[in-house]
Amino acid sequence: MRDDEQSIDSDRRGLVKKILAGTVAGAALAPGSPAATPDVAAAAQAAGSPPARERVDAVSVAREARGEFAPPPEMPPLTADRAGADFMTDAIKKLDLPYLAANPASSLRGLQESLINYGGNRNPTWLTCTHEAVSVGVALGYARASGRPMAAAMKSAVGVQNAAIAIYNAFADRVPMVLLSSTHFDGATRGAHVDWQHSAQDNNAIVRDFTKWDDSPGSLQHFSESLMRGYQVALTPPMGPILLSLDSDLQEAPIRNASELSIPNVTQVRYPVAPTDAIREVAAALVAAEFPVIAPDRYARTDSALPQLVELAELLGAAVIDLGGRFNFPTHHPLNQTYSRVAAITQADYVLSLEPIDIWGLLYEQNDQLVKSTRALVRPDARLVSIGVDWPMRPNYQEFMRYVGDAVRIDADAEATLPLLIEEVRRRIKPADRRRFDARRAKLLQAFSARLAQDRELAAVGWDSSPITTARLCMELWGVLKDVDWTFSSMNYGVLKWPQRLWPFSKPHQSSASPGAGGLGDGVARAIGCALHHGRFGRIVVNIQPDGDFLYTPAALWTAAHHRIPMLTVVHNNRSYHQEIMHLQRVACRLNRSPEHASIGCAISDPDIDYAKLAQSMGVWAEGPISDPAQLAASLRRALGVVQAGQPALIDVLTEPR
């Protein structure tokens, strides 16, 4: 023990002895009580040392008699019946938002308290998240699954910074959500240190490049109008996240002008339909085309979209390439040529793109060699027409993709336009056209069947090997899910889209996946949002979760466990940021250097992460790592049982890289 520590210890021992001997006046009183001060202790001793409680009472009576406890006449009120946040709660409830996901924040305390106590924690129900990116990811998953926005809230500055990548994903996905942040507008009412550090004079600017609209209301009336306006903006195509920054003082101050406040109605949004002449032109071209290709991307807004597109494609016997911005077309429909894309697009003389994201990527191919070369896939005489509402809303982030100059664009909502287009096509088809379409249908059936047969054979290769092939993983999953109502929340790029290639996705709800901006870290959060919606219908939400993405926000699992959100997470565990290894391999080979060290900086091993234990630590049922393919089905069945009982479950599977 050091000298100074011995000295402190010696003093402490002496003090304890004195207390036990009753020589320290007021030792039995709570620290800081008035009786513990030296003058009161002396008075008590002079009075003959009565018991401590009696001494205190006597002193208190004396002080009260002197009027020391009466509030000063100038003291401001300490309570109120209603605060500004209560009015905000009323306005939020008018939107009927089912959930609000948030990581708690001091500058949000007024609204949080009001939503819980005044609002009864219903519509919205508060979801506890462990990171702001999780909050927004949940909102993204919910909106993709339900078509409706929910809310996410976050602190100003640091909270918005944390949420940024998830907001960018939502923006690039054109997903509506209501984001609420909070800050101290008035520097004079901020506390020291953190209140200043976490305030920004333009908090919304942090994410303005990738939100559709924002505001910082200066009054309660301003808030209610901006909330309704923001909701309408979020739901008007192209949809997107909106953000309101709320003043902390406005939340917490009593309402002073209640009779002057009002909450406007929400404006109903109607979707723009293509003009009649444009519909006629497209219909005529589709009927006359030798080999039309329909390429939907962010097309399906509602459950009506998929059957509509099936109807149009079947009328024409047209090939469909589902580009996956939404789930647009049944995977096992014989006109689905998504996985024979090059063969289909090279034959096309007419391409109808629906809500396109990347037309260039559909029509061109670029190889990634030392000297990049580009090849047009589409015939030079092919006509391209797109129907869509999207436009480059923001210039900084380049998610608007490469420009294609030879396209005719019809500025309208494709889903709203399709019924009219179908009727016009039906009206124009003649018997001779039907014979032509039948021949085309037969040809596309052959191509689809050949592709499916090839994929079945490819999936069989390495079936019993370990690490488990991604095809085996996906087919074992199919084995346990095929008899239940299921839905996917993930795009499954890492497992080569085997589910989409081999499983029959036929119902609109069977995939809520979308590509976003490719920002990592929202896989589990999206699945939670997806399960909040689909769980109400007893659907099993499945998330094939890449390990690298998982590690950004693994604590999202805790939210699933805490709120009892049933969902099945299957970790595609290749112990690496595998795509990056392939990039390093490519660059090394170009430079005639060995790619043997390409895993440095990309491998997630040594030590290997035990995802099952990680999940279990947060209260999630989990098994793994599973490396023997023969054990996979039984484990998945156990996990399914857990999910069917209303809880989240996770299986960690050691797989091939891809």
């Binding site: 190889n367 069947s449 592709r451 490819l458 087919m475 595998h578």
Partner: protein, 237 residues
Amino acid sequence: MRQLTMRLQRLALRHLIAGLLAAAAVALAHAQNGSQQTATAPERGRQIYVSVGCYLCHGHFGQGGAGRKLAPAPLPYPAFAQYVRHPTGDMPPYTTRILSDADLGDIHAFLTAIPSGKPAQDIPLLNSIAFPPGGAPAARQSGQAIFLQNCAACHQAAGGGVPGTAPPLAGSTLVNGDAMRLAKLVLDGGFRNPAMPRFEAILKPDQAAAVLSYIRTSWGNRSGAVTSDDIRARTGR
């Protein structure tokens, strides 16, 4: 202009000859390597396959992934080597400075040694994947199966080909032209692309007839079928 055209033609011919010579040299190296192969060549090949990162795209057993399926039944060595050295798609090039001919030969030996697993129809989960009505008529399955096993890796299941590597078969004038000329080219070789193997030793006459018929009647091709008698008459077998 005419002189320029002739110069370009000579240049193209020179490149063609150089390419064929290179392919022949690689084939010879492999043949020599093959003659020296010991029982450990496939194992050595497996180790090299992993260390230089082939598995990153093609899987540990050549089953394919981000890259194409390599095994079982890899491309014949000359075609395999040609593509590894001079890939025309997205695959990174592996020159001899990274991978010697001997190493490449051992990798090929490893891939060749990978046994065929169960076909999809013997795996209940895969066999349960249904085709659309009329999608898999029995009469077409034989030719289709041979095509998927031997041809689809390059020409793709839908016959669209791969730019710079394998020409499309859908709508091809050669495929839809004289059947015996097509049969001769497929069986004897003779295509400019050395990556296209000779199939005479791989396909029996009835198999060749089935796959040629499949190619000539699929993906919009509407040319006549080829019979095994046609093949026998041409090959004398």
